[in-house]
């Protein structure tokens, strides 16, 4: 039932029965535009239904829950801003914010630097570049999977490959996954390893830079470094902006790797001494382990606001450093 009505509604809305006689629509056989509209909405209907039922509806509900005490079983009880004041007063919540910010601020730039560095190498004309491109891109295809996170945990444990390598250099830090301070570095390493997606975008950006700019710079006697700073970087700054934006938002949402490398099933949810207790992990713990869906909803909306603010700041800042070539599009 719900499915059918959701399917019809937009159609009716789009094609009202009493259309004015003089349609502003340009030429074309009578009724064709309407029929095309209908077909268009019909084809879109699975998506529209999905959006209304699975995204918009739950979002509206979670906005309401954010102001209630809701344990999944009893009816939600309106408590105004109590969830938010509890959140700010909770040291574990503040800890999760710190861990997440740290992860975003350290992980994102390192990942983008790696992506840009490799893209610069791959942009050169060499034999076998296609193979290298595929090889460097591969980790980002599988990196987000649960199995890779499990392997990652094994790699960074006591006496595993990372620990043994450290020992070769006389560093006795032990495995990272058992250390509340070090474990977050293994997550950073995991995200940096998946630099493939931004790398491909950088690569596309680098290919767009007109060759004659470099030729002119060569003639003027500019060195490689100078060319990079004065030509490459400004020319790819829109792409850089896009990558920074995407990766920052992505980093804020880190969950599965933190949950799995940090222990996940069997024991504490997110790392020894909450070492990988990123924001979404704590949200999950409050929602599904402590059955505090109201508080978890409030946390989710807080995250949305934070990400929106960061995005706004990035957009505001682009005036200062992103260079859009006149007439480029």
């Amino acid at each position: 039932m719900t499915h059918a009505s959701a399917l019809e509604d937009p159609v009716r809305a789009a094609a009202p029965r009493h259309r004015p006689a003089k349609s502003p629509r340009p030429a074309g056989p009578k009724g064709r535009g309407r029929r095309e509209n209908l077909a268009g909405y019909l084809f879109m209907s699975p998506w529209i239904a999905g959006f209304l039922l699975l995204t918009a509806g739950p979002m509206a509900a979670s906005l309401y829950f954010a102001f209630t005490d809701y344990n999944l079983f009893d009816a939600p009880r309106w408590i105004g801003l109590d969830n938010f004041s509890e959140m700010f007063g909770d040291p574990r919540w503040r800890h999760s914010v710190r861990v997440t910010l740290w992860y975003v601020v350290v992980g994102t730039p390192v990942k983008l630097l790696a992506a840009l560095g490799v893209a610069l190498l791959l942009a050169q004309k060499r034999r076998g570049q296609a193979f290298y491109r595929a090889a460097f891109y591969a980790p980002s295809l599988i990196g987000a999977s649960v199995s890779v996170a499990i392997v990652w945990k094994a790699i960074f444990s006591d006496d595993a490959i990372v620990d043994r390598t450290q020992q070769l250099f006389g560093i006795g830090a032990g495995g990272w996954t058992g250390d509340p301070e070090l474990i977050i570095y293994s997550l950073v390493a995991l995200t940096v390893w998946q630099f493939g997606a931004p790398m491909v975008i950088f690569l596309a950006g680098l290919k767009q830079v007109p060759r004659e700019l470099y030729e002119a710079a060569d003639v003027d006697g500019a060195g490689k470094a100078r060319q990079f700073w004065s030509i490459t970087l400004p020319m790819i700054s829109p792409v850089l902006f896009f990558n920074v934006l995407l990766e920052t938002i992505h980093s804020f949402q880190i969950f599965s790797s933190a949950y799995i490398v940090g222990g996940g099933a069997g024991g504490n949810a997110c790392g020894p001494a909450d070492g990988t207790m990123v924001y979404t992990c704590y949200l999950y713990v409050q929602g599904f382990e402590n059955s505090r869906m109201g508080l978890a909803s409030a946390m989710a909306w807080m995250l949305l606001v934070a990400v929106a603010l960061v995005t706004a700041v990035l957009f505001w800042s682009q005036k200062r450093w992103v260079h859009y070539e006149e007439g480029a599009r």
């Binding site: 999944l72 250390d179 504490n268 020894p272 059955s291």
Partner: protein
């Protein structure tokens, strides 16, 4: 896909139609939840539990037995590991679609009673669909809360010190009933000095052990609605623990964290671990050594504070088939053949008939039986104290914050404060 690699429009449409039909079927099955009966009077009930593959195999055998005896009742099963079990259960229960019958434990009775989830089985007892006769050691009272029968004990167990036998032998430590905490400390030092291994895996974070320790001096971890100890009590307990970690008496918390979900004892990081006695079964299959059971240390040389813990079966309050649920539980706790299939997997059987039916032949299960019998003989078993709504969250917080203290990321003072803050929230909810 098709020969020639040409996938026609019709094929796609057919495939789409087919998958829609399948999705539709799936939706119907979920909506019914397997809960309703069919035309010929056959009734399907859903049964969920937490555990691992080996438990699932045993349980499936007992269900086959049950369905043979009650051909009109079909049982659909589902299981997860412990922590995931409750997440799934909460989600299902809040949607009004939990299993009809499910595994439960003492710490959850009040919680889910307060949420109106648990079926009061006492009416089924009156209707003679479920017998509460023939239970051992007063276990029939365990699932009773405020005059309602909310769970039926299916296996009972007790806290014990599970030891790595060769390690204890090498260290020359022989724990006996009535040994004291001073003896225990001495033993830990001996094990460390003579075997180079930590004596214990991390006793300071085990809520059920601290409960025993408190009970030895007339307190308890929980009261009806709160914590039964003070910040000063816990500060003393964790201060001693911190020193023990520094001195290497207790296993390095970093190493323990890494080998999860394996246990520190079976991973040979420690010589012993305080846990439930039926865990020796798991450690024996997980580790390479031989594992035994030692008594809980005492404060006064007598009281261990122990009581029987228990796994239970509970029903869903709004199940459409309370009678079938009751018959199912009745069969699982009284049938002798079920006992022979289950062994001590969920603890020792709770009814005398099942206890008599299963005589363990292997040393591990025989040791559990002997341990349980020794507790009855020495007369240390006492009444269980309450587990209020929120007890499970307190238990998890206790373990986590103790670990943080042992890892050095919190001072004892901070850890105690954090625990009291979190439990206050949990117990108020």
């Amino acid at each position: 896909m098709q020969q020639g690699g040409n996938v026609g429009r019709r094929t796609v449409l057919k495939a789409a139609g087919g998958s829609l039909a399948v999705a539709g079927l799936g939706a119907t099955a979920t909506a019914c939840g397997g809960g309703s009966g069919s035309g010929d009077g056959t009734v399907t009930i859903r049964y969920s539990w937490w555990g691992a593959e080996d438990r699932a195999e045993r349980i499936n055998k007992t269900i086959a037995l049950f369905e043979k005896k009650y051909p009109k009742i079909k049982v659909k099963t589902d299981f997860q590991p412990y922590t995931d079990f409750w997440k799934k259960f909460n989600t299902q229960a809040s949607g009004g679609n939990p299993p009809d019958v499910f595994q439960n434990a003492i710490g959850f009775l009040r919680k889910y009673d307060a949420k109106n989830v648990l079926l009061d089985l006492s009416r089924q007892v009156e209707a003679k669909n479920l017998s509460m006769d023939g239970f051992r050691a007063g276990l029939e009272k365990f699932g009773e809360i405020d005059g309602k029968l909310l769970g039926v004990p299916v296996g009972s167990n007790s806290m014990a010190l599970v030891i790595d036998k060769p390690v204890y032998t090498r260290a020359g430590v022989k724990p006996e009933q009535g040994w004291t905490w001073d003896d225990f400390d001495e033993a830990m030092a001996k094990i460390r000095d003579r075997t180079g291994r930590a004596g214990d895996s991390g006793m300071y974070g085990v809520m059920y052990l601290y409960d025993l320790y408190l009970r030895q001096s007339g307190k308890a971890f929980f009261t009806e609605d709160g914590l039964g100890f003070t910040e000063a009590d816990l500060t003393a307990w964790w201060t001693k623990a911190e020193k023990g970690v520094e001195a290497g008496l207790f296993a390095d918390a970093k190493k323990v964290a890494q080998i999860k979900p394996k246990a520190a004892l079976s991973a040979e990081l420690a010589g012993s671990e305080f846990t439930w006695d039926n865990f020796t079964v798991r450690y024996t299959s997980e580790g390479r050594s031989e594992y035994g059971l030692a008594p809980i240390p005492t404060t006064d040389g007598k009281r261990t504070g122990q009581y029987l813990g228990s796994l239970m079966l509970s029903g869903y309050k709004r199940t459409e088939h309370p009678e079938e649920v009751a018959r199912f539980i009745d069969f699982m706790v009284h049938d002798p053949e079920v006992a022979r299939i289950m062994g001590y997997d969920r603890g020792v059987p709770t009814t005398q008939a099942q206890w008599d039916a299963y005589r363990p032949t292997d040393p591990v299960n025989r040791a559990i039986a002997a341990y349980e019998e020794s507790l009855v003989e020495s007369g240390v078993l006492e009444q269980i104290t309450p587990h209020p709504n929120g007890a499970d969250i307190c238990e998890a917080a206790f373990l986590r914050i103790a670990e943080e203290m042992a890892l050095g990321s919190r001072s004892v003072e901070e850890a105690v404060r954090q625990f009291f803050t979190e439990s206050k929230t949990a117990l108020a909810g």
